[in-house]
């Protein structure tokens, strides 16, 4: 779909119109990405282009797993409509206010608030505005944000519902305390990169032989942290865990991901059994909404860590997961949370609560986007790499103009201006649902 221009020419650079694209990849054919809850996902992008008269266009997206992507596209149209006619300099001048503009329409807010489809759509549009901002300044987004002064960075965040856990003034002080080592950490990221882990080998739909051969290939590539899916039949989970542990040996890290299929007591019981394979963390042991349930599980399964976040729908939920000692690992997602502003609020709280941020990635476009925020986290916010790894899945990167690059198990810094989310025009066309040639045939 395509909006009409509302504003005539000869204005300062402004958003003239937007286009929304329902892009889906038929990943369910190979069971890439299969897990106990999501048995046959078609990795999809609800993709938006903000067309700028007099400046670079902004590209953004949110991520879904197939059906329902069209609903997110409808929501993106409603949200992007709020920006048509806006001058880009005005949007960039106060990106905190821009976030509130995009998330604050009271009628649209009713359908969330700040959750589900409308928040996924806000993420897509906010990601596009940041892409536009980075291109406008000729900088990758990570460098743009990491280079901000503490007060500017803190002003990006909506503190209304967060300040009981961390006040803006305390956040500024914490960033000021971290300022001294920033240059060195930026240089370290430019040379070594950010440590990653791989989920490419552990999907639930893969055969034992496929798991074993993928695991060996990953070891040869230098990976040290491996994630497997659990939550199917417990005997199958145990057998697959035994295979992976035998391949990686006792010293490398094994993470398990139940993708929400267990109840609270069931999670505790099952992890008691799977503990023999020495998992570093159990991810999404139950409903992503169950803060108190996660807290109970965390107490019961320690020293196994509890991780969640890819379905944690906003910063208010992350705040409580931290306040309740419910998580040991914070897995923000760049398409579930509404862009860098909200992720930054979560990272600032995580730093205060001393919880490592290990973002969710994979899917399509998630690695491209979230890497920027992990670089920001290390350079400007936490200044810490201990217990921190960023998820990596080696699918679908070739559809992007500036795909992620990894080396020896590290993400390397993107260098091109923007948010690395711009998809190749050919890919958008071919994979558009249902009319692109991939789906029409």
């Amino acid at each position: 779909m395509d909006s009409h221009a509302k504003i005539e020419d000869k204005m300062p650079a402004h958003i003239a119109r937007y286009s929304v694209h329902d892009v889906r990849f038929p990943t369910s054919h190979s069971l890439d990405g299969s897990d106990a809850m999501n048995k046959a996902p078609d990795y999809s992008a609800a993709y938006v282009v903000l067309h700028v008269d007099g400046g670079a266009n902004g590209h953004g997206m949110t991520f879904t797993i197939g059906r329902g992507n069209e609903i997110c596209c409808a929501a993106i149209a409603a949200v992007a409509d709020l920006l048509v006619g806006r001058e880009i300099e005005g949007l960039f001048a106060d990106m905190g206010a821009t976030w509130k503009l995009i998330t604050g329409d009271s009628q649209l807010r009713w359908t969330g608030p700040e959750k589900g489809v409308i928040h996924l759509a806000a993420a897509a549009v906010i990601n596009a505005v940041w892409d536009m901002y980075g291109k406008h300044l000729g900088q990758p987004v990570w460098r743009l944000i990491a280079g901000m002064a503490p007060d500017e960075m803190v002003s990006l965040v909506d503190w209304r519902y967060l300040s009981d856990a961390l006040s803006p003034s305390e956040a500024i002080e914490r960033l000021q305390d971290r300022a001294s080592g920033k240059e060195a950490r930026m240089l370290e990221m430019e040379t070594t990169g950010y440590p990653a882990y791989t989920t490419s080998a552990g999907w639930l739909g893969y055969s034992d032989d496929k798991i074993r051969s993928l695991m060996r290939a990953a070891l040869a590539d230098g990976w040290t942290h491996f994630k497997m899916k659990v939550g199917g039949n417990l005997e199958d989970d145990s057998r697959r865990a035994a295979i992976i542990r035998s391949e990686i040996g006792p010293d490398r890290f094994l993470m398990m991901d139940a993708n929400q299929v267990w109840g609270v007591q069931e999670a505790i019981t099952n992890m008691d059994r799977l503990a023999e394979f020495d998992p570093w963390w159990i991810e999404e042991p139950t409903s992503p909404d169950d803060i108190l349930g996660h807290a109970r599980i965390a107490r019961a399964v320690a020293p196994i860590k509890v991780a969640t976040g890819e379905h944690c729908h906003n910063a208010v939920m992350f705040k409580q997961l931290m306040q309740a000692n419910a998580i040991d690992v914070c897995q923000v997602d760049s398409c579930r949370l509404a862009g860098p502003n909200e992720i930054l609020g979560v990272m600032l709280m995580a730093d205060k609560f001393d919880i490592p941020v290990c973002p969710h990635a994979g899917g399509v476009g998630l690695c491209e986007l979230i890497q920027h925020m992990s670089f920001v986290d290390y350079i400007a916010v936490s200044g810490n790499l201990e217990n921190r790894v960023l998820e990596y899945v080696d699918h679908l990167h070739d559809h992007f103009l500036d795909p992620v690059r990894t080396k020896n198990g590290y993400y390397l810094t993107p260098q091109k201006p923007g948010f690395s989310v711009e998809m190749k025009a050919d890919s958008i066309e071919s994979y558009t649902f249902p009319t692109g040639n991939v789906w029409a045939s």
Copy 2:
């Protein structure tokens, strides 16, 4: 929009197709429904008809406040599509399984899960299935559910994420304990009705004179509980509260509703000031997602009660609000939660935690739907009317074929088969956005 029939004739009664209608009422013109968060709502229904070959059609809806209603309509189409071709007897035979079918498509679930637009859409479709079921049996939905045996009623609920708070077997036992007085309570509801309270006079956009005259009219009609909106300027809130308290006297009940505009500490500070008007409860003092924040507010403002729920997006959140002692009043909403099944799960937990259920209503269609569940709550679940009142707003009922009826501040039992949610065909046509004559002119 309208789906195509997928199934040929001469089958047992089945859902042949569905139609979805974007129905909006221009309520923002009169500031009916205005509050601190939602300054100019256009009360809207994302409305669905399940067209049955060989049986009565099912009508259902979810509620929004205007923009974004089209997104819910797109989501309803995706959800309703799961039912096309299904035989209705099979759906009715296990309504718990039917709920899981409607909410369980893994690709659609990703866009929630169980929250926001996709859950609002599930509510619309599940409400339509219950309307169809009631019409099929020739009974109003409240009588259908209240008449179920305990095990059948408990089987309606998805217990996966709830059983750590209340197990299905304990729920059955509790219902069995309540069985003895059911006949008498059903008769009481048929004669007296369920106690209500009114929000019609306290909207934020109304002038002081309008509030005063509406309040006098409501007193003359026999109302004893009155709700006002707060969360604007604190001086204005105080002035309006003083007017209302002076009109209703010291013994009637005044409730306040902040519609989420405050942070946690701000809520505590402001209620310290507004306490002089002796409010019975403060509703939505902060983010609906902030369970721990509500708990802190509840401790600080006691004996003023804390109420929330109209934006509480699923039963897992209600479970935690109860476990954390965060609410004193449980305000379920028949379009935010996914229909009678999920509401019943919340009512069963509320009974165990001894928290009164005082549902949210108003809007359009909300009173028509939720009254059924309050009758079920009293007759079969809680058996208790203490501290229980059901919201009533006297807007837009004339668009329904079986509108709510109140007498002396009580809701009277609906008697027609179904869920009372069927809208007049003329109303649907005239108010369809943007093509109906109300919007086109």
